[in-house]
Amino acid sequence: MPSKLRFAVGAGLIVLAIGYLITTAVRNTSEYYLTVNEVGARQAHLTGQMLRVAGRVKAGTISWDPATLTLGFAMVSPPNPDGSPLKPVTAADPAEFRVVARGEPKPDMFAAGRDVIVEGRLASDGTIEARQVLTSCPSKYIPKKAK
């Protein structure tokens, strides 16, 4: 029996260590994953934090400077959240955020009207300083079914 106990202690220590690694890593690395409207509803609370924000690129707001690799655009909530994972939020005004990404090339699929996920910090002036701009794949054209 004592040998069984000794092994239980050893195994228990390893399990504890793994648990500790996971909890501290979650605390130090987690980011909010929000929609544009959700950020708008809690802007004061979120200022200065790392966020992942899902939204749509507003037409006519894109600026791109290839010499300095600076991409700027406004991000809004998709008008029709049907079928998308985005939830409508009770905020009165539809939120809009200016996004600036510096030092990164423009993603292949980036264009007005595309759905994007922006990873970055919300500055106090309401701009999102993006570290990364990810474009989602455009939804596929679904042909009508024969019945």
């Binding site: 050893g10 890593a25 994953y33 292949d108 794949c137 596929k140 079914k145 024969a146």
Partner: protein, 669 residues
């Protein structure tokens, strides 16, 4: 053709259901005819699914756009190899492909067990047929590959350009093969539990299947990483994306399983643990399919958002609950007389290696489903990204490499401290030596120093093992060193194949550590004739060249790379503009050497200013990740190679009891 395919799928479902009934009735009535009929029914199922696959492939190759699937995932101009690959490019096709593999593997398992395991096999076949029925049910009623379109479009909307790549043609089949073949050991484990034949007969019967599954999971993960590296154009190969994680978790658990079954074969211990591991491995393969097909978690891979989620979740829950209940009901039959004796034993090393592997799998699982959990618990979606996975798995990987260095050298049962000193002198010296050298070279990150020391230690262990074996053969049978090495591996393929795999893991580990810590990156917009530097390289942009085909437009940039004033390479990264799903893609230019990869992406071309934007990465030692993967695959082939001794061991295990002592000892330790 579509009608034939649809019909074949319906028949396949029917015979699968019949086989379960025939097996159950055959066992109750003790009727060999009925049991045989059940097996023939499953062969018929395999034939029917094969017909359906052939029908879909015919549709793809003849561009039959009346089929919704063909219209969605192919086009007239799609190159033929991708028309073939389009079979697994979309949801219906990939489920069909999955079912096809399952039916083939079931048929092979039937053939292997035509005279073996008469009690377990019928139950194993019931489980396999049950899994097949789930997938066939989906293919018949929920997501049908042979649905027709009301109006036939002149052309299809084409395969996703990101999938039009060599690696993407072979990555999914490898991964699926790995996923699906895990079902066979799982089914035999269920059979062993149900019939209470809980010795290691089921493990030995399906050992080769487990290794086969592991082999393809390894390849699948490697090919996927290689695809990400070549196609996605971000300079990395692994992003801890949910779908990558879904492929990685079964690999981890299967690795743990392959190690811990050795303890059961040797010492008749850890029976419950082994059954739990194979159960987990199979459930994780289902979970992986569920993740990719449900859209529950956002991922770059889930192009196919669909209503399959609830079905998969239900099936998964049935499997988890059913298997857990079964395992619990048999706990009393699984008591083992033996127990662990000492921390300084191979059993202990294996036990801790298992805890680490399952720990990593759990951490990956937790990080993957964290957004769902946090949303359910706190109402906010919180994600954890690559930093989370690296922080948790980094230290655990160190632990694993350490144990990899310890395990092979330490004796079963117990080792005396004196023996320990003697055995480990060489590997420890190598490890410490490597640490000192790297420190003298100026590296100060503690993680890198530890990682490289441990890698050298593990390498030292493998070297010691080979040296010991070779010198023993030279003295006992007087062979030349080369001959001794070949015979050593050939005669103990399981053991030395395993060491070759360990070598591959160490190489891959070093590649991963070096590429994660020392990658440098330059992003620059330049005009024709201008240069920039990265590391010791000077890169000059010479201009653009455009080529247009019916399928795509290919805009490539020409770059000359100089090092020390000498021209060493011309590179041509390109932007591709696909015509059907009007979508751009990237073709990366890579100059790979064992020391470092130079990786160039043409990120964009600005028509107004004439500036071309390049993203250039210099990644040291990443070559060794791929070399390590190749080595792991080669080692696995060595392990799987047919072996007379093992066949004898299997026969002995199945005829057990009186034959127990006749089991030969592999490796001669």
């Amino acid at each position: 053709m579509p009608l034939i395919g649809q019909l074949a799928l319906a028949l396949a479902l029917l015979v699968a259901v019949y086989s379960i009934g025939a097996n159950l009735l055959g066992m109750r009535r003790n009727s060999p005819d009925l049991l045989l009929s059940a097996r023939h029914a499953l062969w018929a199922m395999c034939a029917m699914v094969t017909v359906a696959v052939a029908a879909l492939w015919t549709g793809l190759l003849t561009s039959d756009f009346s089929l919704e699937y063909v219209a969605s995932y192919s086009s007239v101009t799609l190159p033929i190899q991708y028309k073939i690959a389009a079979l697994w490019g979309g949801q219906q096709g990939s489920l069909l492909f999955w079912t096809w593999l399952l039916s083939i593997f079931t048929s092979i398992a039937i053939f292997q067990n035509r005279r073996r395991n008469p009690e377990i096999t019928p139950w194993a076949l019931i489980v396999l047929a049950g899994v097949a029925i789930f997938f066939l049910g989906m293919l018949n009623f929920v997501t049908r590959p042979f649905d027709l379109l009301a109006t036939v479009p002149p052309d299809g909307s084409d395969l996703n350009p990101l999938l039009q790549n060599y690696w993407m043609a072979i990555h999914p089949p490898s991964l699926y093969t790995g996923y699906v073949s895990a079902a066979v050991p799982f089914a035999f484990a269920c059979g062993a539990l149900i019939t209470r034949k809980l010795d290691d007969g089921w493990i030995r019967t399906t050992r080769r299947w487990a290794i086969f599954s592991w082999f393809f999971l390894t390849l699948g993960n490697m090919f996927g990483a290689r695809w990400a590296y070549e196609v996605l154009g971000w300079g990395g190969y692994w992003a801890w994306d949910p779908v990558e994680n879904a492929a990685f978790m079964p690999w981890l658990v299967m690795t743990a399983y392959l190690h811990s079954v050795m303890i059961q074969e040797r010492k008749d211990m850890l029976k419950v643990w082994n059954l739990a591991l194979i159960g987990m491995a199979f459930m994780l393969t289902l979970f992986g399919t569920f993740l990719t097909r449900s859209g529950v978690i956002s991922s770059v891979h889930s192009f196919t958002q669909s209503g399959l989620g609830p079905y998969f979740l239900t099936f998964l829950i049935v499997v988890v609950v059913g298997y857990t209940a079964l395992l619990f009901s048999r706990v009393n039959d699984l008591k083992s007389p033996a127990e662990f004796e000492s921390y300084l034993s191979r059993e202990a090393a294996f036990l801790f290696n298992n805890l680490m592997l399952v720990g990593i799998a759990f951490a990956v699982f937790w990080g993957t489903i964290f957004p769902v959990i946090s949303e359910a618990a706190r109402g906010v979606k919180i994600t954890v990204g690559p930093p989370f996975f690296n922080k948790v798995n980094g230290p655990l990987a160190l632990g694993l490499v350490f144990l990899m260095g310890v395990g092979p050298l330490i004796a079963w049962r117990r080792t005396s401290p004196q023996t320990l000193m003697r055995t480990f002198l060489a590997p420890v010296t190598m490890g410490v030596g490597a640490g000192v050298v790297v420190f003298a070279m100026g590296l100060r990150q503690w993680y890198v120093l530890t990682a490289l020391s441990l890698a050298a230690f593990a390498l030292g262990t493998v070297a010691v093992e080979f040296r010991r074996g070779v010198s023993a053969r030279r003295h006992l049978v007087h062979e030349t060193p080369a001959r001794a090495l070949v015979n050593l591996v050939a005669k103990n393929n399981r053991r030395y194949g395993g060491y070759i795999i360990h070598l591959g893991v160490v190489f891959a580990f070093v590649g991963i550590v070096a590429s994660s810590f020392f990658r440098t990156e330059v992003k620059r917009s330049v005009r024709t004739g201008q240069s920039f530097t990265i590391g010791a390289y000077e890169v000059t942009y010479l201009g653009l060249k455009g080529v247009e085909t019916a399928h795509l437009e290919d805009l490539s940039a020409r770059l000359v790379v100089r090092s020390g004033g000498r021209e060493i390479a011309t590179m041509e990264p390109a932007k591709l503009f696909y015509k059907r799903p009007q979508q751009p893609a990237t073709r990366v230019a890579i100059r790979s050497t064992p020391l470092a990869d130079l990786y160039v992406v043409l990120a964009g071309v600005d028509d107004k200013s004439g500036l071309a934007t390049f993203e250039v990465f210099l990644t040291p030692l990443v070559f060794w990740l791929w070399a390590g993967g190749l080595m792991m695959a080669m080692g696995t082939v060595v392990v799987m190679w047919p072996n007379v001794r093992e066949r004898a061991a299997l026969a002995a295990a199945l005829g057990r009891d009186e034959a127990l002592d006749a089991e030969p000892v592999p490796g001669g330790d």
